[in-house]
């Protein structure tokens, strides 16, 4: 006969009103695992913590301090930026009066190359080292299809990629069944105007020495870009490849110096570092200061000789030549200075406004809300 005498656990589990603390002793046979939660700071959500609050004592000084830091920095940047000498010539030749107007509709393979000369005057002398840039406008180096159209493996000197470039390079991957080296749209569209600078003094043109090395990042020149590995000269190493469609000559003939030729040609490397925005400038040449007595570029007349190979007119592009000195923060950059001054002032002003509001209407400091 199965009879269940069931009743409250209460009644039989805790005879004589077993105390709450008796958990440890009353655990029948010790097998009963205590279900009492651990009394740890983590489980009880009592972890020590820093509880910051935005009080007038912290916010207002923060605003003033930011203001007081930003304004001097802004002024510093602004002054520095203003001390930088910069000179810019647009030599696209869109205007009919421009000497380069004749070259406007030049094409890649026109022979002989179209040349033009632009004369200009520097009002102020350039004291320190001068950097010569070419600038392009409306040129979408940041277009997705453009950016991806390269084979870094090939440019890194990988021999298999040299002969079998990545598919990303299409449609500039092969030409007449030969792999293109360097492949891709970026390399294919490499800027190939030649700019020469002359100082005109008493009708004599003195060529200014333009240094073409040291214009690329060290990591690019020494890590990222490598010529194909192997023995023999570059011509032999690039055996079996063909030049990019637009190029007049193959990659191993970019320069006479072996350490600036092939993939490690610095003009090429600079071009391959694609710009973020459709208007950009790229470093072209360096003009080093010769002596401490003379400025690098004196004020006076100069002429710029351009071998005009690079067509931009078809897509409304512009080409510029820029001469600039630099400072600790780089080239001319009025935006940063003005932005700093503005933001600093706004912070300071906001600080003042908040202070007034806090004093007039703020009820934070009243002790009315604080019980006892």
């Amino acid at each position: 006969m199965a009879v269940n005498y069931s009743a409250k656990e209460e009644a039989d589990g805790h005879p004589a009103g077993g105390g709450p603390g008796g958990g440890a002793t009353a655990g029948g046979g010790g097998a009963v695992k205590t279900r009492k939660p651990d009394n740890t700071a983590f489980k009880q959500q009592r972890l020590p913590a820093w509880q910051p609050i935005l009080t007038a004592g912290t916010v207002l000084p923060a605003f003033f301090i930011i203001g007081l830091i930003f304004i001097p920095i802004g002024i510093g940047i602004f002054v520095t930026s203003n001390n930088i000498r910069e000179y810019e010539i647009d030599y696209t030749g869109v205007e009919p009066s421009s000497p380069c107007n004749k070259c406007l509709n030049v094409s890649w393979d026109s022979t002989p190359p179209c040349t033009c000369t632009i004369n200009f005057t520097l009002e102020h002398s350039f004291e320190s080292n001068v950097f010569m840039y070419y600038g392009l406008s409306n040129f979408y180096q940041n277009h997705r299809r453009y950016v991806k159209s390269r084979d870094d493996s090939q440019l890194n000197g990988d021999n298999s990629s040299l002969l079998n470039p990545s598919k990303e390079c299409e449609p500039y991957r092969t030409n007449e069944d030969k792999p293109i080296a360097p492949c891709g749209a970026i390399a294919n569209s490499m800027f190939n105007d030649t700019l020469e600078l002359y100082h005109i003094e008493n009708d004599t043109r003195t060529a200014i020495t333009l240094i073409k090395k040291g214009i690329a990042w060290w990591t690019d020149k020494n890590v990222k870009f490598r010529n194909p590995k192997g023995d023999g000269n570059l011509t032999a190493l690039f055996q079996g490849t063909t030049k990019p469609v637009n190029w007049p000559k193959p990659v191993y003939m970019l320069d006479s110096e072996p350490d600036n030729n092939g993939f490690i040609n610095e003009d090429f490397i600079v071009w391959m570092r694609t710009a973020a925005l459709p208007t950009f400038r790229k470093l072209y040449r360096l003009i080093e200061r010769k002596s401490n007595l003379q400025p690098t570029l004196q004020a006076g007349k100069y002429s710029l000789d351009i071998t005009y190979n690079y067509p931009v007119h078809s897509f409304d592009g512009r080409k510029r030549m820029i001469l600039s000195t630099i400072s600790w923060m780089g080239g001319k950059n009025p935006f940063l200075g003005i932005a700093y001054i503005t933001v600093g002032s706004i912070c300071f002003f906001l600080g003042v406004v908040l202070l007034i509001i806090h004093h007039k209407y703020g009820n934070r400091n009243t002790s009315a809300d604080i019980p006892n």
């Binding site: 006969m1 279900r35 009394n39 972890l47 990591t219 570092r273 933001v343 906001l350």
Partner: protein, 1020 residues
């Protein structure tokens, strides 16, 4: 706990070999879902044996105090009662979940819009510029027109902008909820040491809704009350015993009770039993026959089982605690129920062992509301002892002793007025011949295959007549610990508590009065209340009239526009709602089960709801489980508020399942409620902690988390959109592919997760002290569509600055070595770095509670960003995979530039500054209560750290004693005297409502008004 017994005839099948030869046949009712009924017949050895629910073990039962049993499976699988009963369990989701889904859909729409804009841009660009640019960048194969290119670019943009759609949101939300659930499980303060049960979050998906509860529907028995009955008073032969009196005979105050009665004369007495009136014991010892008969009845007429573990150590196992209390009382007064067999009951009457022959048990049920036993005493006299509800039994008494009946009725009213549960006791002598005849008919009836119960009921009815009144008992229903305090705090938190009680265990008591008394002792009802409306109408019209009167009174009370309002006009009903919401006084509504049935009918439910919602407290008594669910459904339907149902018994299951959140009390009434619930713990008082601490934090954390999550994704993704305008809409990404992959997973996920799991705005004890802190959740202020748009706007604002500041700086800039600065890769690194820094600063601002873990995650994420950045841009990886790691050398070249850092600093300040200014202004001019409390905390920490502890300790000690109160006056006095609640109310109500509180209430009213008017309009 239920007692189940095998049919006695099968008891011979005790070993397996005989069991194997068993060849009976069971014919029974078809499968159904009635848990408390079973009818069947066992055909065995050419005999019929009745089978009832008493002989059944239902699926899901757990055997207690039984080592083994053999059984016969009657139904299996889906035919079992359990499976028949398992209604379609609705999948519960939180309102934030639903909002989140909507928002994600909107974001999808937004994504498509952006895609379309950029695709159109692309088509135009390719048409105007791209066509000419083909000398350097020919179109892809297969693309012959700008329009097709735009079409392709649409898909490209959908892919690169898909990060606005927060896929990882769902996973993160679940992780956070899981964390919160663990915190609930781990909470030491919700652990009941007595039952050794911790609180348990049985679902992990509802946590933040705990912070938004507006209505609590509570069961009474076992939830508010302990379901522990204490024999408190009795009336024997017109004399009432049990009042606590001092030497001079005056009733004394609670708390200074004299010594309890000494039962040491009785070796079998239960040491746990306490009684304060010595006169009853004196009456027993003097040999008053009425008192003896009274206790004899108590020791005989019951279904308690006794167990004697060792000589004199008796344990009673009772089905209902009432019975246990009565039998224990008899035991202590010298009528010790010692043991029983199916046919006998042995009682020690004042030391003398007497064995009565048990002839029949006429068991209790809900219709009969009484139970009787028929016993044959050793002298051979047959006697029927009956106990039951006063309403039933008083009608069945012999009309001769009308005087005694009147006195007893007075006593009964007195007891009921004190909130005690009463039973009337009566007895009757039976003639031997009459009994024989009756017993024979009973045997036949119980063997009958159909309508057995009806026939039995008729037989029972016949014998239980013309009885002699013995007296009445009053049992005290003990409140759970901390119930009044919890209700007081929850009420202050603007949570409305409705008590829905089935009250099946107090059959005799006038229900409404008991409920009202429980209401007073729970502090649901207070003397502050202008009026308590009691609705007890039996017909539709009565109920409607009573409700109407109640509302009229409330309108008059509020005086503003109470005159001449016609309730019949449908037009006015929308106005009515708003008026009722603005009622000035405090009212309470008590409604009876049968009135509720009418009130819940379709044409009256809105009326009922409006009336009920205008009241501070609502008590529904004698409601069926289905009605409980209907009430919850009603509020859910019309109020759009979050509802919570709490209960402990099987009759609460439907309500628990219906409410947004179901809480089960894992107490004495089995585990059905717990199994159906979302959260379970063992004491009602833990509810305040669950809601005010865990719920509040969960809601806060979830809202902060969601805001930040949407913000960071928009800030991150929208940069691509702006960049699109400068890259020919070519779907070029701004960032490195690895940054895009890792941004959501590594750089920004952990700090916000840490905030979502650990954040606290105010310490836990403050949320109890200032229950008003709970209101933002109810009003859904921390995360709603408006907040979402603010987050999105902030994200877009950040993305604009994130793109255009570097754009402005980089446009013509060069590096400090003369080379071009604005190359794509440097730009990408700059934007990415400033983005990571800005969102890190933002999470720092959002985090209000910086634990070591938060520090570790926030600083760790920043460190991880830089570590991964430098690793990805290292020579080694590039040498291995030159086409995958194109950014070689970029990090060290870019981040060495002062201009880049100046840009990052500028971007950070510009992005963060307005946020700080805005938040400061909000804090300074319109602080939320939580801000004030937080600020106060800071100030107080500096001032006096130890003052608080001392006072809290005092409160805890003081309130325990007042946990049980007989009369509402005393209970309320306790409330005033304890000081704690006064301080609470004065602080939370006056201190806060004085200034910004008015605005709060306005918002609340507007919200409610706005919500209810469309409902009523739709009806009209």
């Amino acid at each position: 706990m239920k007692v189940r017994q095998a049919t006695p005839v099968t008891s011979e099948l005790a070993d397996i070999s005989t069991l194997a030869r068993f060849d009976g046949e069971v014919i029974c009712e078809p499968p159904n879902n009635k848990l408390d009924k079973f009818g069947g017949t066992l055909y065995w050895k050419e005999n019929k044996f009745p089978l009832s629910n008493q002989n059944m073990l239902l699926r899901g039962c757990v055997l207690r105090n039984t080592e083994w049993c053999f059984g016969l499976v009657v139904f299996a699988g889906p035919d079992t009662k359990l499976m028949q009963n398992s209604g379609r369990t609705k999948f519960k989701r939180t309102s934030i979940d639903r909002l989140m889904n909507t928002l994600v859909l909107w974001i999808f729409g937004f994504l498509v819009c952006m895609g379309v804009i950029l695709a159109i841009g692309n088509a135009i660009w390719e048409h105007e510029v791209g066509v000419c640019f083909q000398i350097y960048l020919p179109w892809d194969e297969g693309v012959h027109s700008a329009v097709f290119s735009g079409f392709l670019s649409f898909w490209s943009y959908i892919i690169i902008l898909n990060t606005v759609v927060p896929i990882s949101l769902y996973v993160s939300v679940e992780v956070i909820r899981l964390g919160h659930s663990y915190f609930i499980n781990w909470d030491k303060k919700m652990y009941c040491a007595k039952r050794r049960t911790p609180a348990e979050a049985r679902t992990t998906t509802l946590n933040e809704e705990l912070g938004q509860v507006e209505y609590i529907f509570s069961d009474k028995t076992g939830t508010l009350t302990q379901n522990i009955m204490v024999f408190s008073k009795c009336s024997v032969n017109g004399h009432s015993y049990g009042d606590v009196q001092d030497v001079l005979g005056h009733n004394v105050e609670l708390g200074e009770r004299p010594e309890p009665v000494d039962f040491s004369f009785n070796p079998l007495a239960d040491p746990g039993f306490q009684f304060w009136d010595p006169s009853l014991l004196e009456a027993v010892q003097l040999g008053d026959p009425h008192v003896h008969e009274f206790f004899r009845l108590l020791s005989l007429c019951h279904t308690v089982m006794s167990e004697e573990k060792s000589e004199g150590e008796l344990y009673y196992k009772a089905q209902s605690p009432d019975e246990g209390a009565l039998v224990t009382a008899a035991r202590n007064f010298g009528f010790v129920f010692r043991s029983r067999t199916p046919k006998t009951i042995t009682v020690h009457e004042l030391g003398r062992a007497i064995t009565y022959q048990l002839l029949a048990i006429l068991d209790f049920n809900n219709i009969r509301k009484r139970m009787s036993v028929i016993v044959r005493s050793p002298e051979g006299k047959i006697r029927l002892y009956c106990k039951g509800a006063d309403t039933i039994l008083l009608e069945r008494l012999h009309p001769s002793n009308q005087d005694l009946t009147n006195v007893t009725t007075d006593h009964l009213n007195e007891y009921a007025g004190e909130g005690l549960r009463t039973l009337v006791l009566a007895c009757k002598d039976l003639e031997e011949s009459y009994y024989e005849d009756w017993a024979e008919r009973l045997r036949r009836a119980s063997g009958a295959p159909e309508a057995r119960e009806d026939r039995l009921a008729r037989l029972y009815d016949e014998v239980e007549r013309d009885m002699t009144l013995l007296g009445a008992t009053a049992i005290e229903d003990k409140l759970q610990q901390g119930v009044p305090e919890t209700i007081a705090i929850l009420t202050l938190a603007n949570i409305k508590i409705w008590v829905l009680t089935g009250d099946k265990q107090a059959p005799g008591s006038p229900c409404a009065e008991t409920a009202v008394n429980i209401g007073y002792s729970c502090k649901m009802l207070t003397d502050d209340m202008t009026e308590v409306f009691v609705v007890t109408g039996h017909t539709v019209l009565e109920v409607r009239e009573e409700l109407r009167k109640a509302r009229e009174k409330m309108m008059d009370g509020s005086r503003s526009m109470g005159n001449g309002f016609s309730y019949q006009e449908k037009l006015s009903s929308s106005k009515l709602t708003s008026v009722l919401e603005a009622i000035a006084g405090e009212y309470a509504l008590v409604i009876n089960g049968h009135s509720l049935a009418h009130a819940l009918e379709a044409d009256m439910e809105v009326e009922f709801l409006e009336t009920a919602c205008a009241c501070k407290a609502v008590i529904c008594c004698r409601v069926t489980p289905l009605q409980k669910a209907q009430v919850v459904e009603l509020v859910k339907k019309y109020k759009k508020a979050v509802t919570l149902a709490i209960g402990d018994g099987a009759n609460d299951v439907s309500m628990i399942k219906t409410a947004h959140i179901g809480v089960g009390i894992s107490g004495q009434e089995g585990i059905q409620a717990v199994l159906a619930s979302d959260y379970s713990f063992s004491q009602f008082k833990f509810l305040q902690r669950l809601l005010l601490v865990h719920g509040r934090w969960s809601y806060l954390r979830m809202c902060k988390f969601l805001c930040y999550f949407f913000y960071k994704n928009f800030a991150f993704t929208m940069v691509h959109f702006w960049f699109g305008f400068f890259c020919g809409f070519s779907a070029q990404t701004v960032y490195d592919q690895y940054f895009i992959t890792l941004y959501n997973i590594v750089y920004t996920s952990l700090p916000v997760l840490a905030m979502g799991v650990f954040d606290q705005d105010v310490p836990e004890q403050r949320s109890m002290e200032y229950p008003k802190l709970y209101e933002p959740g109810q009003l859904n202020l921390l995360f709603n569509k408006r907040e979402f748009f603010i987050c999105i706007a902030q994200g877009i604002y950040t993305s604009v600055l994130m793109f255009f500041i570097p754009y402005g700086v980089f446009a013509d800039a060069t590096r400090d070595d003369g080379a071009q600065l604005a190359d794509y890769q440097s730009f990408a690194v700059t934007v990415a770095t400033s983005l990571v820094i800005v969102v890190s600063v933002q999470i720092g601002l959002d985090t209000g509670f910086w634990t070591a873990i938060n520090h570790f995650f926030i600083w760790g994420s920043l460190a991880a960003y830089f570590a991964i950045l430098f690793a990805m841009h290292s020579d080694g990886l590039f040498q291995m995979f030159p086409n995958q790691f194109r950014f070689v050398g970029n990090a060290q070249n870019t981040l060495a530039q002062p201009t880049v850092w100046l840009t990052i600093a500028l971007t950070t300040v510009v992005c963060i500054m307005p946020v700080v200014a805005f938040r400061f202004l909000k804090l300074d001019l319109k602080p939320e209560l939580s801000d004030t409390v937080r600020y106060t905390q800071l100030v107080r920490k500096k001032q006096k750290p130890q003052h608080r502890c001392a006072r809290r300790g005092g409160c805890g000690g003081g309130s325990r004693r007042s946990g049980y109160a007989f009369s509402h006056q005393e209970g309320f006095g306790e409330l005033i005297m304890s000081g704690k609640n006064m301080r609470l109310s004065s602080l939370a109500l006056s201190g806060f409502t004085a200034r910004p509180g008015a605005a709060w209430i306005e918002t609340l009213r507007r919200k409610k008004g706005g919500e209810s008017s469309p409902d009523t309009a739709a009806k009209g």
